[in-house]
């Protein structure tokens, strides 16, 4: 006779509608820019589905011929919203598509050139909370410029709780990178030498260049230690000139 938890009871099989596709999403809001970055690996269990998936989409008003001629490398205007999702990628894609749809109708109906970050964030909340009891299994981060032209970032949990923040990491590598950002962006636990541990190091906006370095180092680090992170790094940068995208290789093992 069996006495453990196993064996004595029949096993019930159930359909699991979710899967974990790994990966990491990172956003930093600067003084007059914002960046949103993610790795490009999409995996399930121990297998890689693709080494070049796109977890971030730049949602932008259509580019005029004049804009394209002046900024050949830009993929969006300064009114764009960088929309990033991480977790179950099918849900992420669905959410991105739905938001883009909402964004287009909003711009059309209200006869505006774009959607403000505030409104975008509230809309995402509604999309997520609308599925409160069958959630989109994703961590969402959106980046853009606010109405004063300052860098702006909102992050969401799977059911729509959101907050405006300076920086945030979502996904598999979140627990590895977040303390690093606390330390290097907000200078947590750092004092000014010679003050006898009484004066904290002053927090100031980081330059775009400095932020990009941090993002790259964060991703190469997490690639070393997390098996679902790697292959490539896509960095979207939005500032007063528009949106551009950088790609860097990450380790593929």
């Amino acid at each position: 006779m069996m006495t453990g938890q196993h064996g004595s009871q029949p096993i019930q099989h159930q359909f699991n509608p979710y899967s974990d596709n790994g990966g990491t999403l990172l956003g930093i809001a600067g003084e007059d820019f914002a960046i949103l970055a993610s790795d490009t690996r999409q995996s399930v269990d121990y297998s890689i589905n693709t080494r070049l998936s796109h977890k971030i989409k730049a949602i932008s008003p259509s580019l005029t011929a004049e804009f394209k001629a002046q900024n050949p490398k830009m993929i969006g205007t300064k009114n764009s919203i960088l929309f990033g999702t991480n977790g179950f990628s099918a849900d992420g894609d669905a959410l991105t598509r739905q938001f883009e749809e909402n964004w287009k109708w909003y711009v059309h109906d209200q006869n505006k050139s774009a959607m403000s970050m505030q409104s975008a964030a509230r809309n995402v909340q509604h999309l997520l909370y609308g599925k409160r009891f069958f959630p989109y299994y994703v961590h969402t981060i959106i980046c853009g410029l606010d109405e004063e032209g300052k860098g702006c970032l909102y992050s969401f949990d799977p059911v729509g709780s959101y907050e405006r923040e300076q920086c945030r990491v979502g996904g598999a590598g979140a627990s590895l990178i977040m303390p690093f950002l606390d330390n290097q962006v907000n200078f947590k636990n750092q004092y000014i030498p010679g003050t006898n541990s009484t004066e904290r190091r002053k927090v100031d906006y980081l330059s775009l260049d400095e932020c990009l370095k941090l993002v790259k180092d964060a991703f190469t680090s997490v690639t070393e230690r997390h098996i679902t992170v790697g292959d490539g790094l896509e960095i979207f940068i939005i500032d007063k000139n528009g949106v551009r995208c950088e790609y860097h290789d990450l380790k593929k093992d």
Partner: protein, 207 residues
């Protein structure tokens, strides 16, 4: 009442790093019962001759293991009439843990020391059944091990002088602990060099 994994009941972290002719090992000082803080002076690092070992995981097992190893270290000294080397101690811990393969201690130790013959810094970590992880750079353990991995992987560089290694290991520990609800509440850092060992208590958040 249902609780969770025994290795995350009490909380706590240990990290060790190698530097240029030096090695550092650090721990937080919290002992808790789930979310309730119980003590802020629970040191997790023990000295065995010139070898230092940090124990994370279930506090009762960490304590049992630390005194079992003290006993074994004393016997080693009596039999061999010499100090134990960190590599040897790592193998001793490994076999001690593996002995309980089918009823393990819920503790993951971290060893740090300098080899007295070669002067080489040595750090090693274990899982709860004694698999040795002998890294050249750093070892992390405890409830914030993910956070520590991220910190160490980003901050660490080889061949740091003791003064610089102190800053690096301290910042790694502090920022990792701040992103873990059941670690922190004080911290202690041991800096081990050829002729001196210093122990420094850090100024930390108290929440």
């Amino acid at each position: 009442m249902s609780q969770q994994d025994p290795s995350t009941i009490n909380g706590g972290i240990v990290v060790a790093m190698t530097g240029k002719d030096c090695v550092a090992i650090a721990c937080d000082l919290r002992l808790g019962s789930q979310s309730l803080g119980v003590a802020n002076n629970f040191e997790k690092i023990y000295q065995y001759g010139k070898v230092f070992i940090g124990f994370t995981g279930l506090a009762t097992d960490a304590l049992t293991l630390s005194s079992d190893l003290k006993y074994k270290h004393n016997l080693y000294k009596l039999k061999e009439n010499r100090g134990i080397q960190p590599e040897v101690f790592a193998n001793l811990i490994s076999s001690t843990l593996y002995e309980k393969r089918f009823g393990p201690y819920f503790s993951t130790p971290v060893v740090a020391g300098l080899n007295e013959k070669t002067g080489e810094p040595y750090v090693a970590g274990f899982d709860c059944i004694g698999c040795i992880d002998a890294a050249r750079d750093f070892i992390v353990a405890g409830t914030a091990s993910d956070q520590l991995f991220g910190m160490c992987e980003a901050l660490y560089e080889p061949n740091l002088e003791p003064e610089d290694l102190f800053e690096t290991i301290s910042q790694a520990l502090l920022n990792a602990a701040d992103r873990d609800a059941i670690s922190g509440w004080g911290a202690a850092v041991y800096m081990i060099t050829k002729d001196k060992v210093t122990k420094t208590y850090l100024k930390t958040r108290q929440d």
